[in-house]
C-alpha cells in the first residue's frame, strides 16, 4: 500500500506575541492509499486548520508535509494550485456550487483549470456515477440539498484525484440525504479511493475505517 500523505511534526501558528494561537501543535499523521480516515473534534480543536493544511489550502508554520512524495510545505501559490487541481477533490459543507452554471458545467470546472479534453464527456460520466445522469442540465437551485452535494462529489471526482477531502459533507443535509452521501463516500472508498472525512459528529465518523480525534491542536487516533 502506497503512502498518499504524511504530516511530520506539523505546527500552525496564527498571530504572534500575546495573541499567538497554536492551531496545530506538532501533529504527525500518515494516510495510505485506500484509507478512509475521519477527523473528529469540536470546533476550535484545530480540525479546520488540519483540513486546510491537508488540502494544500494553507502551508504549515513548521514541520513537513509530504503529499504523494512531494514536499508541499514550502510550495508557492502556483505549485499548490496545481496540487489541488490534480491530486485533491474537495467536498464542502455548503456545497460551493456556482449558481449560474448547470450541474455538468459545475463538475467541469476543475478540468478547465488543467485544459483537459472531452470535459463534457468526463463530467457526464462522473455525474452518472453519483446517480444524477438525469439532472446534468439543472442549475443548483433546481436541485435538492442531497442532489447538490452529489454534484459536488462528482466535481471532486472528475479529476480522478489521489485524495477526496470532505469537510462536514452532511452538515447542511437532512438525515436521509446524509445517509446517501455517506453511502457514496463509502462506496468510493471500497472502490479504492482514499477519503478523509472531517466532522464534529461521531455518528458520521463511524462510517470511516480510521478515526482521528483533534483536541487543542493535537491529534489522537482511536484504534477500532
Amino acid at each position: 500500500m502506497g503512502e498518499v500523505l504524511r504530516l511530520d511534526n506539523v505546527s500552525k501558528i496564527y498571530g504572534s506575541g500575546d495573541a499567538e494561537v497554536r492551531a496545530l501543535d506538532g501533529v504527525s499523521l500518515t494516510v495510505n492509499e485506500g484509507d478512509f480516515v475521519a477527523v473528529v473534534g469540536p470546533s476550535g480543536s484545530g480540525k479546520s486548520t488540519l483540513m486546510n493544511i491537508l488540502g494544500c489550502l494553507d502551508v504549515p508554520t513548521s514541520g513537513r508535509y509530504l503529499f504523494a512524495g512531494e514536499d508541499v510545505s514550502r510550495m508557492d501559490a502556483y505549485a499548490l494550485a496545481r496540487i489541488r487541481n490534480r491530486r485533491i477533490g474537495f467536498v464542502f459543507q455548503q456545497f460551493q456550487l456556482l449558481n449560474d452554471l448547470s450541474a455538468w458545467r459545475n463538475v467541469e470546472l476543475p478540468l478547465l483549470y488543467r485544459s483537459a479534453r472531452d470535459r463534457k464527456g468526463t463530467a457526464l460520466t462522473v455525474l452518472e456515477q453519483v446517480g444524477l445522469a438525469n439532472r446534468v442540465g439543472h442549475r443548483p437551485n433546481q436541485l435538492s440539498g442531497g442532489q447538490q452535494q452529489r454534484v459536488a462529489i462528482a466535481r471532486a471526482l472528475v479529476t480522478d484525484p489521489d485524495l477526496v477531502l470532505a469537510d462536514e459533507p452532511t452538515g447542511n443535509l437532512d438525515s436521509g440525504s446524509s445517509r446517501d452521501i455517506l453511502a457514496i463516500l463509502r462506496q468510493l472508498n471500497e472502490a479504492g479511493r482514499t477519503v478523509i472525512l472531517i466532522t464534529h459528529d461521531p455518528n458520521v465518523a463511524a462510517v470511516a475505517k480510521r478515526v482521528v480525534h483533534t483536541s487543542d491542536g493535537r491529534i489522537a487516533e482511536a484504534v477500532q
Binding site: 496545481r82 487541481n85 464542502f92 460551493q96 488543467r114 479529476t159
Partner: protein
C-alpha cells in the same frame, strides 16, 4: 485555464449582474463620448478658422508705409507716406520678384454711398485691376474694372455683396459716392468675416478715380500695397523678394531703417487658431476627467464584485485556479466593461455629432484619431483600474474566501 474560458468566465460574471454592469458601462460611455465630442467641436472650429484663412488668402502680404522705428524716431506703422505707385510697379516686375503673383496698390477712404433707395457708409478702396487676384476674390455678378478703366479714370465701382444688398443696387445701377456718381460694374462673391474687417461690406474703384475724386493727395503715393504670392508655399520667398526690392528702391541698408512694414495677413488669424486649440485642450481635459471618473467607477464596481464573490474565488482556488487565472478573469471583466462602454461611447458620440449641429450652430467634426485614442484610453482605464481589484481577488486566501459564504 485557456484564454477562451477565462474570457467566457469573465463575461458570465458580468452577465450575472446585468444592471450593475450597465451602470458601470455608462460611466465609461459618457467619458468616451464627451472626449470625442469636445475634440470634434474643437476640430470643427479649427477647420472654420482654417477656412477663414483660406478665404482671406494665405498668400496675401500687406505692405504699409512707415515702421515702428524709422531713422531712430519711433512712429506707428502708416505714420509716413512712403509707398508709391513706382514701388507697386517694381514689385509687379516678374524678373525681380518671380514669387509675387499680383500687386495691388490701395488708397482708402470712408465714404457714404447713396443709391436711389437709401444710403450706406462704408470703406471705399481705390486700386488696380490686380486687386481681385491679390485678394483671391471672385465675382458674383458683372465684372471687375479693367486696367483700361484705371487709365481712363473710369467712374466705375465694384461692391461687396452686403453693401450691394443694403444699398439695394444691382450691376448697371448708379450710386453716388461722396457726391460723385459711379456705375456699379460688378458685385463680389461673399467671403464672410476676414479678421477685423467685413470682406463683404466694401466698395472698390479704379485708383486713379479715387485719387482724383475721393482721397485726394498725390497721384503717386499709395496707402498700402497688397501683394499675393504665387502659392501659399511661396509666401516666404515672396516676402523676401518684396522686402529686398523695397529696401533697394528706398535706399535702405539695414532692416532697422526700413520705412515700410510687411505683414502676412494670416498672422493674426493664427492667433485665433491657437485660441481655438487652447479651448479644445481645455474642453478635452474636462472630458478626460470624466473618463477618469468612469474608470474609478469601474474599479469601484470591480471591488464590490470581488468582495461579493469571495466564495466563488475561494472555490475556484480550491479547484486549482492559480493567482494568474483569477487575475486574468477579473481583468477581463474590468476591461470588458470599459471596452463595451467605449464602443457604446463612440456610438453616442457619432449620434451627438449629428444632433448637435442639427439643433445648434456648433459644428462637430469627428475624426478617427480621437475615436481611437478615446477607446484605447477606455480599455487602458479598465485594465489599470481593474488591476487592484483583480490582484486582491488573486491574493485572497482560499480558506477565508470559502468561509465567507
Amino acid at each position: 485555464m485557456n484564454l477562451r474560458h477565462t474570457f467566457l468566465t469573465g463575461l458570465r460574471g458580468l452577465l450575472g449582474h446585468r444592471l450593475r454592469s450597465i451602470l458601470t458601462t455608462l460611466g465609461i460611455l459618457f467619458g468616451v463620448a464627451a472626449v470625442i465630442c469636445t475634440v470634434g467641436i474643437g476640430q470643427a472650429s479649427s477647420d472654420q478658422v482654417n477656412a477663414q484663412i483660406a478665404a482671406l488668402g494665405t498668400n496675401l502680404l500687406t505692405i504699409t508705409p512707415g515702421s515702428t522705428s524709422a531713422g531712430g524716431i519711433f512712429g506707428g506703422a502708416g505714420s509716413a507716406s512712403t509707398l508709391t505707385m513706382a514701388d507697386a510697379n517694381g514689385l509687379a516686375d516678374k524678373a525681380n520678384a518671380p514669387d509675387i503673383q499680383a500687386v495691388a496698390p490701395v488708397v482708402q477712404a470712408r465714404e457714404t454711398m447713396v443709391s436711389s433707395a437709401t444710403n450706406w457708409s462704408t470703406t471705399v478702396s481705390g486700386s488696380t485691376a490686380a486687386w481681385l487676384v491679390a485678394n483671391a476674390r471672385t465675382m458674383l455678378a458683372g465684372s471687375f474694372f479693367t486696367a483700361q478703366d484705371v487709365t481712363d479714370h473710369a467712374q466705375k465701382i465694384v461692391l461687396g455683396s452686403t453693401t450691394a444688398t443694403d444699398l439695394g443696387v444691382a450691376v448697371g445701377d448708379s450710386v453716388t459716392v461722396g457726391k460723385v456718381p459711379f456705375t456699379v460694374a460688378g458685385i463680389l462673391n461673399t467671403v464672410g468675416g476676414q479678421g477685423f474687417q467685413n470682406g463683404d461690406d466694401l466698395g472698390v474703384v479704379p485708383i486713379t478715380t479715387a485719387q482724383d475724386l475721393l482721397t485726394g493727395g498725390s497721384p503717386n503715393s499709395v496707402q498700402r500695397i497688397l501683394v499675393s504670392s504665387t502659392s501659399s508655399s511661396t509666401i516666404g520667398s515672396a516676402y523676401q523678394e518684396a522686402d529686398q526690392l523695397l529696401m533697394v528702391t528706398h535706399g535702405v541698408t539695414s532692416a532697422a531703417g526700413a520705412d515700410f512694414t510687411i505683414q502676412a495677413q494670416s498672422s493674426f488669424l493664427s492667433t485665433a487658431q491657437s485660441v481655438t486649440t487652447t479651448l479644445t485642450i481645455l474642453l478635452a481635459s474636462v472630458a478626460a476627467i470624466s473618463l477618469l471618473v468612469g474608470g474609478i467607477g469601474v474599479m469601484n464596481i470591480m471591488l464590490v464584485s470581488v468582495t461579493e464573490r469571495t466564495g466563488e474565488i475561494g472555490l475556484r482556488k480550491a479547484l486549482g485556479a492559480t493567482p494568474g487565472d483569477l487575475l486574468r478573469q477579473f481583468l477581463i471583466e474590468a476591461a470588458s466593461l470599459s471596452i463595451i462602454g467605449g464602443l457604446l461611447g463612440i456610438g453616442a458620440a457619432l449620434l451627438a455629432g449629428r444632433l448637435i449641429p442639427h439643433f445648434t450652430t456648433i459644428g462637430v467634426t469627428i475624426t478617427a484619431t480621437p475615436v481611437l485614442i478615446a477607446v484605447g484610453v477606455a480599455a487602458a482605464t479598465g485594465l489599470v483600474f481593474g488591476v487592484y481589484p483583480a490582484a486582491r481577488a488573486a491574493r485572497l486566501a482560499p480558506i477565508e474566501a470559502l468561509r465567507s459564504k
